[in-house]
Symmetry: C2
Subunit: 336 residues, 2 copies
């Protein structure tokens, strides 16, 4: 199948979520987090009853399409990349919002919406004055992403198939992931994988290690996630482990920048400057977008890392997890 043309740069598989973002000052945020058993700074999965209970106590919010891998695809589209997305929404208002916001960027997203079952998934996000976000996700229709949603032709057309770790929270998605990775490998394409969240790594450590060892050519993780994956305390130990298995690992360290490990060694990339950090939601998603854009445009790993840092810096300077300006324009000087 390796003669199929790769007219797409990245196809991503992930959860289809609409973010419901509310700002809360500290006393209110503390009360909300304590009352509903959330984890400050982390993402917890909840059922419908619990997401509605949290929502009832949430301050006024705004709705912005989200979902980790979907944010990455939106970032890629903002760079000008040709992309596709695989996820499940329902045929409801939030499903239409999610679909609109991807398609209007030119992303190929044609998985039919579910016509029954749970509503489109959503992620309630409380942003505190320190720019941290505490999340509570109701997967909804996303939890019914089966292998039938994976169009093998679409996967074979893309240079990279990108998987988010959050997918492992839904048992039904495993067959979809298997189908996508086997099509990608058979077509000679790369598979990229993000560990998503340290708590997510805790929940699925064994399976995540298998993916990293057997399937992923490119791995994205932050320091906590990669240390959790290997259950080590030192970042350098985790780095030594991951480079044995993967062609490329891009490891982020917040304001310390990132470390990119490739076949020819290690590149350290500084974080891009940010005037004011407003909301860290989406930093990792946009880092992956910049990196994969660089990679599929044939740039060296240092340029990939710098594009990644640039996209991450843009997204943390405002509320919401997708770029508000054209990343293609922001990056013009870097890739000229």
């Amino acid at each position: 199948m390796s003669d199929v043309s790769t007219d797409l740069q990245v196809v991503a598989i992930g959860n289809a979520l609409v973010d419901v973002i509310a700002r809360a000052d500290d006393p209110l945020a503390e009360r909300l987090i304590a009352a509903h058993g959330l984890e400050r700074g982390a993402a917890v999965m909840v059922d419908l009853e619990r997401v509605e209970a949290v929502y009832a106590d949430l301050p006024p919010a705004q709705e912005i399409s989200g979902g980790s891998a979907a944010n990455t695809v939106a970032g890629l589209a903002s760079f000008g990349a040709r992309t596709g997305f695989i996820a499940r929404v329902r045929d409801d208002q939030l499903g239409k919002v999610f679909t609109h916001d991807l398609r209007s960027l030119g992303v190929h997203f044609e998985v039919p919406p579910a016509t029954d079952g749970p509503a489109t998934g959503r992620c309630l996000i409380v942003v505190t004055p320190d720019a941290q976000r505490t999340q509570c996700t109701y997967l909804g229709a996303s939890s019914h992403l089966g292998p039938e949603a994976v169009d093998p032709d679409l996967v074979a057309r893309a240079q990279v198939t990108y998987l988010e770790g959050y997918l492992w929270d839904q048992p039904d998605a495993k067959d979809a992931i298997r189908r996508a990775t086997s099509v990608a490998r058979a077509a000679g394409r790369r598979v990229a994988f993000t560990l998503s969240d340290p708590f997510c790594v805790d929940r699925h450590r064994t399976e995540f290690r298998q993916i990293v060892e057997n399937d992923a050519d490119v791995v994205f993780a932050n320091e906590l996630e990669i240390c959790s994956l290997y259950e080590v305390d030192e970042f350098d130990d985790a780095l030594d482990r991951v480079r044995r298995h993967c062609e490329i690992a891009a490891l982020t360290r917040s304001e310390l920048g990132s470390v990119v490990v490739g076949p020819d060694g290690i590149v350290e990339v500084p974080a891009a400057p940010v005037e004011q950090v407003v909301d860290t939601t989406g930093a990792g998603d946009q880092y992956a977008a910049g990196f994969l854009y660089g990679l599929t445009e044939g740039h060296d790993l240092e340029t990939c890392g710098r594009l990644a840092s640039l996209a991450a810096a843009e997204v943390i300077s405002h509320l919401g997890a997708r770029p508000e300006v054209s990343l293609a324009e922001l990056a013009r000087d870097m890739v000229a």
Copy 2:
């Protein structure tokens, strides 16, 4: 009925709309406006088919609860005022979003959602780099606001009943308005009215003059609207006309500030400083919020005008038509 206590400061009647806000640079915005026959800088009313056609061409958007009078009530709540709201949503996802965003501010909003008929109304807003917004409104469930939605006890409990001019675009709302104004007048309460939009004044000039002459104690308008109401070219001529009928008229002139006409003469109020104007949506709504807050707290007209300018300045400094910070805190020094 004047012995009923006024435990509420303002009850507003308006359209229940969720704003769908997209930024567009000029070539794209021009194409969109031309292709769909919108009016740059103004609000047009469209049917379901047309709002869906515009949405299909809209860039990625964010959803934030809106509606002119609802924005005013949200601003009043942010000042700490006790408020109620009367409008109609449907029992759908956007209806829940709209309801949540008011109730979470402490606004009394208990009109039952429609269980059939059109979906919750929405307003597509294109914000151009000059911070102007071009709007296209689908009233949806809002167009079925009948007199049964008006709880006479609620109206009688409020010092001020506030009506938005946009209500006149829906024939069904007229009985609701009549019921509310007659209850308010019988209870000895004030009626406040905003002309909403110059095109709206064009559509309903005769009825708007009747409201101003017979029902409204307080009138809000910008320069274009008040000149259109009286079909005069000079602001001073319009001002002379409106003061014959109304106890108070608050007339806004964008960066020139506002002119408040009261029983004791005219007060000129400067605009509050704004670092960067991002989106002018909601400037008039928040001006009315600040003014009505001051009025119902017993402040003089100059203080009312300054509170109004403060709230307007906050809202135009960011995307969306409702305050992002506590107006009570912003105003602390002014009303101490």
